[in-house]
């Protein structure tokens, strides 16, 4: 049974099922491609390169990070709307302008791109040893305090009361990324992307190995929950970065402009370089 045969009109059972089999068979190659990209990115990343440009701009993201982030955006732009439509179309009982199998096919293309990007990122971080978006757990109280201080005062005060944080104490420097990015943004994004990746792979594996129905049902529910988390996180991520424009410049070019080098939301030190 050739891939060409399955992707065309002469598929074995139905168009949807044929695409499922193609994707599950391609999964090892998709994951391997991601690991390969990560390895190449890790090898190409210069060790000990200058973190400051002549004009004072600070290196915040490596070229690999910029490219993989862009790849992740492309993957989400394809996978998220098609995934949302599959779910909501079912709830609303609406067919939509395209045949159902095309939503699945386009969704699988987007999901494949997301998988490549996620596995490339993990491999790249493992290769370079970069942990700049994580915070040490033994310093958790200080990071939570800094996070509460960065929030709007109404939210920050409530969080401080809830966690018994003393907002009068200075939180110090967050390092390469802001407290908001380290305590809230990256962990929640990581959770959402991790959940959608694992549940998506399990959903797909049922076409290769038998998985009990209740597990598939629970897995599908968590996949949808992860989709909702990611829709919320993307909106919040865009709101935060657009409000701190130099961060947008940094993820597009890798360089954080000099004039914001000392602000709290855009720390002076480099990011993952």
């Amino acid at each position: 049974m050739t891939i060409a045969g399955q992707s065309g009109t002469i598929q074995p059972w139905s168009n949807e099922l044929g695409d499922d089999f193609i994707f599950v068979r391609a999964l090892p190659a998709v994951l391997a491609l991601g690991v390969l990209y990560g390895l190449i990115g890790g090898w190409l990343s210069p060790a000990g390169a200058s973190a400051r440009r002549a004009d004072g701009a600070v290196r915040r993201f490596s070229t690999t990070t910029v490219l993989l982030h862009a790849l992740l955006i492309v993957g989400f732009l394809i996978a998220l709307p098609t995934g949302a439509w599959q779910y909501l179309g079912g709830i609303l009982d609406v067919q939509g302008p395209l045949p159902t199998y095309l939503y699945y096919r386009i969704h699988y293309i987007g999901a494949g791109i997301v998988l490549v990007s996620v596995f490339a990122f993990v491999t790249y971080w493992w290769m370079t040893g970069d942990r700049s978006l994580l915070f040490p757990l033994d310093d958790c109280a200080r990071y939570l305090r800094g996070f509460a201080q960065e929030l709007p005062s109404m939210l920050g005060t409530r969080l401080a009361q809830l966690l018994r944080l003393d907002l009068k104490q200075p939180a110090g420097s967050p390092g390469a990324f802001s407290f908001y990015e380290k305590v809230w943004s990256f962990p929640t994004f990581g959770f959402g992307i991790g959940l959608i990746t694992i549940t998506g792979i399990v959903k797909l594996l049922r076409y290769a190995i038998p998985i009990p129905g209740p597990i598939v049902w629970a897995d599908s529910t968590l996949h949808v929950a992860a989709m909702v988390i990611l829709i919320i996180r993307i909106a919040d991520h865009l709101r935060y970065t657009l409000a701190h424009w130099p961060l947008v410049v940094a993820i597009a070019t890798g360089w954080l402009p000099n004039r914001v080098g000392q602000t709290r939301a855009a720390p002076a030190t480099g990011g993952d370089e």
Binding site: A84, I231, I234, A235, P246, A266
Partner: protein, 74 residues
């Protein structure tokens, strides 16, 4: 450039609001109540409202960028 980014963000808000509306609407239709139960209804309602809230915050930022691109964002 900031205006274009603001415009794109505003465009991104539209499908988000549609999704939020459909989720909230889906929480109250008989089919969800009969087939999926109260937990699914509550999840749809909470998810839809949260998406709407964060989308409104993003839309507000996008509108600020469209109105005064240089003033919005450090």
């Amino acid at each position: 450039m900031r205006r274009i980014a603001g415009l794109l963000a505003l465009v991104w808000c539209l499908p988000n609001l549609v999704v939020a509306f459909w989720m909230v609407q889906g929480a109250f239709v008989a089919k969800t109540a009969q087939h999926e139960g109260i937990v699914a209804q509550a999840s749809l309602l909470l998810g839809g409202l949260l998406i709407a809230l964060f989308t409104v915050l993003l839309a507000r930022q996008a509108l600020r960028m469209l109105a005064a691109p240089e003033a919005s964002g450090a």
